[in-house]
């Protein structure tokens, strides 16, 4: 019996890998000359619905009324936002620019993969809490594959060869799934925009996060590790996300608050 299961597992892996390579080569490029490829649908049949009655709410989105985000302590939030903005431009940006020079991109991507792998329990348990068993399974599989084939998590063969995507879940999203309202908007120093629900989420995730165990080494070690992670992520992102949002804005504070809220809603929906 055990042997049968073993063979099934191996053949499943082989099939999966085969299928993945079939998909990978099958997609046509729209313009051969560009090295930017436009791929239509990656081999899967598209869902084209011409009957959109049930999608009405998403489609006829002529909601010309603004949804004002609860923000009773806006003056305080704005002050912190200004502080964060200055801290970003005068402190963190120079740091990650320097870091970029010191460590090549491949290594920084490796570091990111490593931390992502270490923090699997956060995503795994939140998948379970939300009843997303497939997601939990995917995360478990990712952990195993990346820790072994991926050399302690520095590489991500789970995504590359097995098409196992990261299940981006956290406790804030779990609470959102259970219909907890966001509560007022809060801007935290250094951490940036958040709200009451997501802040509770952050605290909850501390319990699930293996990095927290570093406090046994040194009480500031978890914070240091997270700060390092943050700088590393910023260097890969090149600050595009934040800068492009803030530079285009008439009111940067609102732009960030709104973008954060919309993005969180989307994450909770999926």
């Amino acid at each position: 019996m055990a042997r049968l299961v073993f063979y099934m597992f191996i053949s499943a892996l082989i099939m999966y890998t085969f299928t993945v390579s079939t998909y990978a080569d099958g997609a046509p490029a729209s313009q051969g000359q560009n090295d930017t490829t436009i791929i239509t649908n990656n081999g899967k049949k598209p869902v084209e619905e011409t009957d959109v009655e049930d999608e009405e709410s998403e489609f006829v989105d002529v909601e010309l009324e603004t949804v004002f985000i609860q923000d009773p302590v806006q003056p305080y939030n704005r002050a912190i936002f200004t502080f964060n903005d200055k801290a970003y431009y005068y402190f963190f940006r120079p740091i990650y620019k320097g870091y970029e020079v010191v460590l090549p991109e491949k290594a920084r991507l490796g570091v990111r993969n490593f931390f992502t792998n270490v923090r699997t329990p956060v995503r795994l348990f939140n998948c379970l809490f939300q009843g997303k068993f497939k997601g939990a399974g995917t995360e478990a599989l990712r952990l195993v594959i990346n820790s072994t084939l991926g050399v302690a998590g520095f590489s991500d063969p789970a995504k590359k060869y097995f098409e196992l995507d990261i299940q981006d879940e956290d406790f804030g999203q779990t609470l959102g799934r259970y219909k907890m309202g966001t509560g007022p908007h809060i801007e935290w120093p250094f951490l940036g925009p958040s709200n009451v629900r997501d802040t509770i989420g952050l605290v909850g995730d501390i319990a699930l996060d293996p990095i927290t165990l570093l406090f046994l080494v040194n009480p500031f070690a978890p914070t240091g590790a997270k700060a390092f992670m943050g700088v590393n992520d910023l260097s890969i992102d090149k600050g595009d996300t934040y800068e492009s949002l803030v530079e285009k804005a008439i009111d940067p504070y609102i732009a960030v608050q709104d973008a954060y809220t919309q993005n969180r809603s989307k994450k909770i929906r999926e």
């Binding site: 729209s30 090295d35 436009i38 791929i39 285009k248």
Partner: protein
């Protein structure tokens, strides 16, 4: 033992079916339009005769000229002003659309210079008589997937983009929040002033 073998066979069949794929996409007009837009844009960015720092302004102008007609700027501006649109005079509306267009142009055309070598995957398209939503994934060089959705509106058969949603953040909604917050606290003239300032800086 036989039962287990049947399950095994069944799963083999299931996996075999996974081999069978179809790579053709029945794209609707809206999807085609988005593809064309992206194609045109990329061609300009890739054009060797337009490459280099000196050609920056020329490249951006060309890019803007190509892409601009595919966006329904008036619709975007109208939606981002929200309920304040109906109180505006025709002159004010015209001015606002101009300012909004300038704002967007400065904000986005500049950013496209950093775009190269990425993949764009068309995921799905939904379309009814008047509206369409085209969902894509932009895959960056660092293998990050960014969900970009285009919302289109059909004006007697002609499809135009009226909103772009990046990772769940709708452009129109984002601007609407900003504009509303300004208008709640101060006047329309102040908003116009701010937009002018921003446009000049760009």
């Amino acid at each position: 033992m036989k039962r287990k073998r049947n399950i095994f066979n069944l799963s083999m069949i299931v996996f075999f079916i996974m081999f069978v794929t179809s790579t053709c996409l029945l794209a609707g007009e809206a999807g085609d339009l988005v593809k064309q837009t992206i194609d045109k844009g990329l061609n300009i960015l890739k054009d060797p005769s337009l490459a280099g720092e000196e050609k920056l302004a020329e490249r951006r102008e060309k890019l803007w000229k190509e892409i601009r007609p595919l966006f329904d700027m008036e619709e975007m501006a109208k939606r981002s002003l929200g309920r304040y649109w109906k109180d505006r005079t025709p002159e004010e509306r015209e001015e606002f659309v101009e300012l909004f267009t300038e704002l967007l142009k400065n904000a986005y055309v500049g950013k496209t210079d950093t775009y190269s070598g990425e993949k764009i995957i068309f995921l799905r398209e939904r379309q009814d008589a008047k509206y369409s939503k085209v969902q894509t994934n932009f895959i960056t060089k660092t293998a990050k997937e960014i969900a970009v959705d285009f919302s289109l509106l059909s004006n007697s058969g002609e499809w135009k983009i009226y909103d772009v949603t990046i990772e769940g953040v709708s452009l129109v909604n984002n601007y609407r929040s900003q504009f509303s917050n300004v208008l709640v606290k101060s006047s329309y003239e102040e908003l116009v002033e701010k937009m002018r300032e921003k446009g000049l800086k760009g």
